[in-house]
């Protein structure tokens, strides 16, 4: 695997990233870059480290005491593990959507308004209302919930909850959205809606999506990274990965020989 060249438009560049849980190396020397206007998919069998790598991109691994990150990750040229980086600000700039929908047990409105409120992004109620509406519209949820914004977010269906989580993430106007298997807990119809949403959000936000579902990776992403046992095996245009994989392991995985 050769180190990809740093493109001028790169939003995130990771170079030689290794992640350790105690003495156990979960990610070994991964280099990758993500540009502003694309969707990058991470695929690979369970336990291959793709989620771990995703969580290094907004330092969510900091919450695990034994986790340690080596190598360099830059966001717009700033070292996110550097001493000057404020983690809180970083996470506002790099939003995240999780595997299981996890709305706060508060009203739908409060769920979306929470981020802008703690970061002081809006002045006054009207501005906040507008941000909530815009975010819900972008997440394709507005028409379904506009009449019951004060209902609890946890009362929505699974797919709606996940879109609410996406609305919550985009309400703080991030530059990158990380999605950790966002559809694995959803039925096919809800999944299709999320995928449409990813298409709609592409270009506005750089999106990195971890998925178990290879068809999904093929449908939503422009570039795909294949992880196996903590190594980045292959990273390239999605069409190449699925039609003309270079590595033997990638071929075996996408043809369903293991995973």
């Amino acid at each position: 695997m050769t180190t990809p060249k740093i493109t001028a438009r790169a939003k995130i560049t990771a170079r030689g990233v290794s992640v350790f849980y105690g003495a156990n190396r979960a990610i070994d020397d991964v280099s990758i870059d993500v540009t502003q206007d694309e969707v990058v998919a991470f695929i690979g069998p369970s336990g291959c480290g793709k989620s771990t790598f995703l969580r290094t991109l907004n330092r969510m691994n900091d919450t695990i005491p034994s986790a340690r990150v080596e190598g360099q990750i830059h966001l717009d040229g700033e070292d996110i593990y550097g001493p000057d980086m404020d983690v809180v600000q970083l996470r506002a700039r790099v939003g995240m959507v999780f595997q299981k929908p996890n709305p706060f047990p508060k009203s739908i409105y409060e769920n979306v308004a929470y981020g802008p409120r703690i970061h002081g992004l809006t002045q006054g109620k009207a501005a906040l209302d507008e941000v909530v509406e815009t975010s819900l519209r972008r997440a394709g949820l507005w028409d379904e919930v506009k009449d019951r914004l004060s209902d609890s977010g946890t009362a929505l269906s699974g797919g709606q909850q996940q879109r609410l989580c996406i609305a919550r993430a985009i309400a703080v106007d991030p530059e990158v959205i990380l999605m950790d298997e966002p559809c694995s807990a959803l039925d096919p119809i809800a999944t299709a809606k999320i995928e449409e949403l990813i298409h709609a959000l592409k270009g506005r936000y750089a999106i990195v999506i971890v998925t178990h579902n290879m068809q999904q990776a093929a449908r939503v992403s422009q570039r795909t990274a294949f992880f196996h046992l903590g190594h980045l095996v292959e990273f390239g245009a999605t069409s190449d990965i699925f039609t003309n994989p270079k590595a033997e392991r990638t071929k075996d995985y996408i043809t369903g020989r293991y995973g």
């Binding site: 703690i118 970061h119 993430a169």
Partner: protein
């Protein structure tokens, strides 16, 4: 890039073993089914029996307390015709130093004389020790009584009161029978029981002193133990690194919750009274001591409640850029609060019923006036119950039961408030 890490797809299946389907209708199989049903039934019956047994004990306890205690809230009175010929002006009697003036003018003797006149020699013995105080209060309320004959409703002496309630000595019974034949006795609600403090005469005692002492003590306990316990639990769960020291602290807190309460009393005696020289018998010291005892309970319940908050909520908040403190105060604490409050109620209920540590810091003193603040000498309900149950006078038995009823009502009110608050916080979402 090795191929070995790719597992081989299994090829060729093993010869299937020929196997008859299980026969579920054999004797042994039926017996197993029967035994399973029997075990099920046994468990239900035992569970139900346990529940009914506890309900039975509870009902027995409450019923016997009510039966014994309700009469403690009533008093027997006699109608005493009285004409005061005191050398005192109505203005002075109603004035600020009226108590002293009336006592100095010989009110007590006048009341005794009226009793002797009305019921013959020994008539004064029929009345409560505080009979003249009742007359005094009446005169102060209406100074015109000084210049005319009137009939006062006076509480009877303790032994007569007991006789009126059917438990007295033959002598007292006879005297009560004489009075009631004369048609001068009556029965009424003893409002003084709810407004007065301790006394040596069972007809004069009140629970208010102890109740107020309990209220003040609980307030001090809650104000100290709840915030300290909650913050300790939050810090230990959310911030403290997992190492030997936090393990040690955890074990110590668990041990503290199991320490006998009298030890906390000794600690309070040594530290708060001995070292800090805080006032003896005061709700402040009682509250401090009980807070020490309640805090570990709140910490343990709080940590469990905080552990039960799903990590996905923390992740969600962190991922939109909440700082750790915001995560704790916006999400973890509100979600854990109902659980923390449950722990607090359990701790406070235990503290409310606690006697032993308070005996050590001097809250068993005879206190005849309700405390005015947290530094005044006071006693608390359970200690008051303990003291009254120790009294020789027969009249204290029903007062003890009545005090127990007050304590139970206090406890119920406290739990009711806590449940209300808990539900309120839970439905806020």
């Amino acid at each position: 890039m090795s191929k070995a890490i790719v597992p081989e797809v299994p090829t060729g299946t093993a010869e299937p073993v020929l196997r008859r389907p299980t026969d579920w209708s054999t004797q042994a199989s039926r017996r197993r089914t029967r035994r399973r049903y029997a075990a099920e039934r046994r468990f239900r019956v035992m569970g139900l029996a346990a529940v009914w047994l506890s309900v039975g004990f509870l009902v027995f306890l409450l019923a016997s307390m009510l039966w014994q205690g309700v009469s403690g809230f009533t008093e027997t009175r006699v109608a005493l015709p009285i004409e005061l010929r005191l050398d005192i002006t109505p203005d002075r009697a109603a004035g600020r130093s009226g108590d002293l003036a009336l006592a100095g003018a010989g009110l007590e003797g006048a009341v005794d004389a009226a009793a002797t006149a009305a019921y013959g020699p020994g008539g004064a013995e029929l009345l409560s020790d505080g009979a003249w105080l009742t007359v005094r209060d009446a005169v102060k309320a209406d100074p015109t009584l000084l210049s005319r004959r009137f009939i006062a409703q006076i509480p009877v002496a303790a032994d007569i009161d007991v006789a009126a309630k059917g438990e007295g000595t033959p002598d007292a019974e006879a005297q009560f029978a004489r009075l009631s034949r004369a048609g001068v006795t009556s029965r009424g609600f003893d409002i003084d029981f709810l407004t007065h403090a301790d006394s040596t005469d069972p007809t004069r005692v009140g629970i208010w002193g102890a109740l107020k002492g309990s209220l003040l003590t609980m307030a001090v306990t809650l104000l100290l133990a709840f915030p300290i316990g909650t913050f300790a639990a939050l810090y230990l769960e959310e911030y403290a690194p997992r190492n030997r020291w936090t393990d040690l602290i955890e074990v110590s807190i668990n041990n503290l919750a199991a320490v006998p309460s009298i030890i906390f009393g000794l600690l309070g005696l040594a530290v708060f009274l001995g070292t800090f020289h805080l006032p003896r018998s005061a709700p402040l010291v009682g509250g401090l001591t009980l807070a020490l005892m309640t805090m570990p309970v709140i910490v343990i319940a709080g940590r469990n409640a905080i552990k039960a908050v799903p990590p996905s909520i923390r992740d969600a908040a962190l991922a939109v850029g909440a700082s750790p403190v915001q995560v704790v105060f916006h999400h973890v604490l509100p979600l854990a609060l109902p659980g923390i409050m449950t722990g607090t109620i359990i701790g406070m209920a235990r503290a409310l019923g606690e006697t032993a540590p308070l005996l050590m810091i001097g809250m068993r003193a005879f206190i005849a006036a309700p405390p005015g603040g947290i530094t005044d000498p006071a006693t608390v309900l359970p200690v008051q119950i303990f003291l009254w149950s120790d009294e020789v006078s027969r009249g204290f038995i029903e007062k003890t039961s009545a005090a127990i009823i007050v304590l139970l009502v206090f406890l119920l009110a406290m739990n009711g408030l806590a449940i209300y608050l808990r539900n309120k916080f839970e439905t806020r979402w």
